[in-house]
Symmetry: C2
Subunit: 482 residues, 2 copies
């Protein structure tokens, strides 16, 4: 099934527009695509006329062209009629916003069966029902919530696929925006009657060139599709991340009332997924931290795109002794270890510091620069550590409170890091006045976090990706030699 | 030892002011107290003169009055002379900013011994050395970092005591400001040569009326003071929270290079502290979440000030099914359980909803209101659940994205909650445009969090405090009857 018309439509049409209610889903979708997106938009209204200057057509067969995508925002029985129209008129893709299908049981299940039959018989890429649809900037946005109410994430490398529309617009969009994580395309799959998580994994890993990380929120796999999903993940060159809802008995009860899906036995799924090279964050923060570091580093020029951390050997550089302690306390839990510096290295590090700070700073690992630090000290130490072969990654805990740290410090660090083949992950406090420093670092594709734990966790996420990438490579060679 | 002059000085004097360097610690402290705080400020400069219009005096004995507090920002040997001056002139309190004492070993240790002897012989309340000192709004602020570089937290119920100045201004101040957690007084104790954590616990729990929560960042107890600390915690009516740095071997290595303290055996300390009724968050987020919910609820009028959660029996109300699932997945881990509604209760809940949402909403626990929810539905359901005796707390996951939720919703919920004796903890996305809703709730002392996990964790923190309060009460009666 070709999904391209879902995500790259040249034209679309909306059915289910209310002339009376400005908040009706169909009307919101019509206007936001007309005003904010690049797709050519048509609207259907039985008696024609117009809305906010947009001409409305009486029926699909009266449109000046066959659209690539139909957005259906009407009741369930009318929805089935429109899906039949898609088949008859050769409209290749549809998004069904409304509910009244499998999630209500009984006759809803029968409707969903009819829908599935028409779609597969006619090779229609149908998303939903009971979903928000597609956000594929700059072309199309079928999310029927008013744009001014939600938050759009920046453009980037992560494809998002969510079984819950609420999770998509809140746990992903809002938090992506807050953390500056970039999205290529976002998909709300609802009942996933036709287009499902496996098809989307195939599309984003094999077809879409903008995506290099594919993240899912699922409350279980669609029946009969887990095997296909796992096989696709195994051979994907992109990083595949799945966050599951309904992992516990309590969560499972909640999913059953929320969607028609039955959460599987998660202990079995968990180990199967590990075997099939899927990254599984255990909580929302781990999910976001992983996606952030994967997205930012995916923008670095080769050969730095995939930052390899095999052993977890790191150095910590901190402006505050307390921060260094708190970070060190987390290392073991996150599978990392602070490399021991030789006596010679400690002496050399000390020589790099200004004379005042030199005597009070500490050159173990963690390195505590103290509040007497100058910009040049940070530059010299980062440059020195970047050249040490036994350090795989530098964690820089950068507190810009001491008066001698300048607001150029972000750019000065970026100038060094850009030409070194060593990942650096930074902590900078999340305060508007420090956005100058944060932006200097992130423009140079150095990931910045705002809690000590997320900073350490991000390095751990790079180590987990390295482990999976190595497994994929050895699996590839195993196949070749057998 | 009377600490009141440290925190409530009417007058203070600064020594160690540079006329050449505007960033010297003494000069920053002088000016920030003159311009921003209420204390009467004097400065000492050997040749007199003035700085930015502030008259400087040649010696302490030339001041027009004996100040309550002396802030010392000079080298370590001169520092000892000034401490002797405090004794001679009967200046009752001092903050020593500079280092060069026990933390450098050798002669520094001897200096610290001299300091301790003078202070205890003369009953001088000396803070430090090697510290940022005191932030006690609106009177005094000895933090020598420029105010425009750091962030001041709002005023509130939490006394903060930190062994690391960096942790105080970053992990506490910045994150308190971000989360709207209020501080009564903040103290950086540095080497804690004289004034230590036990004295401060005594002061804040027994003397200071503004404080009802006392939070510590410690890298171990001061030698010989753990027992006193624990006894004070046991009889404190305030909630005592300790977050430890240096809990692991790796962290312990870092503390030894950072402060003179030796981190104890944390497994033993952990169980001792539990026994002595101290709350010990395991990570920075748990620390902040606990302090937030304790601070906000401490502002509620009696009898609602101490929100009691004995069993952890809760109800979840969500606008998004996915959010309800994610929250449910965390319940068991956080010692909470979703109460089962009777058939009768489910029918009554359903009746309270608007006709459109009624048929698609779910009335199990979690309650999924769906995107078709109206303000009145949320009001009616919160009012109904508030009156159910078997529910100890309501978790409200409020996503304001559906077009029919108004921006009055925060106030409308507050109107109900204020007159019900039931804690409600809310999740609202952290987006500037929703600050109207967030502020409506927080002005009515309803705590708002911005991640699902923090929201659930906050309820767990109330349960932990209830457990400790109950232990303290039974301990009190045991003593009476024996």
């Amino acid at each position: 099934m070709d999904l391209e018309k879902l995500f790259k439509p040249k034209s679309m049409c909306v059915v289910g527009i209310s002339k009376k209610n400005p908040l009706s889903p169909g009307r919101i979708v019509l206007l936001k695509n007309e005003f904010e997106m690049q797709v050519k938009v048509y609207g259907i209204y039985p008696s024609g006329g117009d809305i906010e200057g947009i001409q409305l057509y009486e029926r699909l067969d009266k449109l000046p062209e066959i659209p690539d995508l139909l957005v259906i925002a009407v009741g369930p029985d009318d929805t089935l009629d429109y899906i039949q129209d898609c088949a008859d008129l050769k409209i290749p893709a549809a998004v069904i916003i409304g509910g009244g299908f499998a999630e209500i049981g009984g006759k809803g299940k029968k409707r969903q069966e009819s829908l599935i039959k028409i779609a597969f018989d006619n090779d229609l890429a149908v998303l939903g029902p009971n979903c928000l649809g597609v956000y594929a900037p700059p072309l199309v946005d079928t999310i029927f919530l008013p744009t001014e109410r939600i938050t759009r994430p920046p453009k980037g490398s992560v494809a998002l696929i969510s079984q819950s529309g609420g999770v998509l617009v809140d746990q992903f969009f809002v938090k992506f925006n807050e953390r500056n994580i970039g999205v290529s395309t976002a998909v709300s799959i609802g009942n996933r009657a036709v287009v499902d998580e496996a098809m989307l994994l195939e599309y984003f890993s094999q077809v879409d060139p903008e995506t290099s990380n594919i993240a899912f929120y699922l409350e279980g796999f669609k029946e009969g599709r887990a095997r296909q999903f796992l096989q696709l993940a195994k051979k994907s060159e992109d990083t595949v991340i799945v966050f599951f809802g309904g992992k516990t008995r309590e969560g499972k009860v909640a999913t059953q009332s929320h969607t028609a899906s039955l959460a599987g036995d998660f202990k079995i799924i968990y180990s199967a997924l590990r075997q099939y090279y899927v990254i599984q964050p255990q909580n929302e923060r781990e999910l976001l931290t992983s996606l952030k570091v994967y997205d930012v580093l995916s923008k670095r020029r080769n050969p730095f795109g995939k930052n390899v951390i095999t052993h977890g050997d790191i150095a910590i550089v901190s402006v505050s002794g307390g921060h260094a302690v708190i970070a060190s306390d987390m290392l073991k839990e996150y599978g990392l270890n602070a490399v021991r510096f030789s006596h010679q290295e400690k002496m050399e590090l000390k020589e790099l510091m200004n004379p005042v700070a030199r005597d009070i700073a500490s050159f173990n690992n963690p390195i505590d620069l103290t509040g007497s630090v100058l910009d040049t000290d940070i530059e010299n130490i980062i440059r020195y550590l970047s050249d040490l072969q036994n350090i795989e990654c530098i964690i820089l805990l950068l507190l810009p409170y001491p008066p001698n740290i300048s607001f150029q410090i972000g750019r000065r660090i970026a100038n060094i890091i850009t030409y070194k083949n060593k990942p650096v992950v930074c902590f900078v406090p999340y305060v508007p006045k420090y956005s100058l420093i944060i932006e200097s670092l992130e423009l140079a594709n150095i990931p910045v976090f705002h809690s000590i734990e997320e900073t350490v966790q991000a390095v751990s996420a790079l180590k987990e990706r390295t482990r999976i990438d190595n497994l994929k490579i050895s699996n590839f060679f195993d196949k070749k030699s057998s």
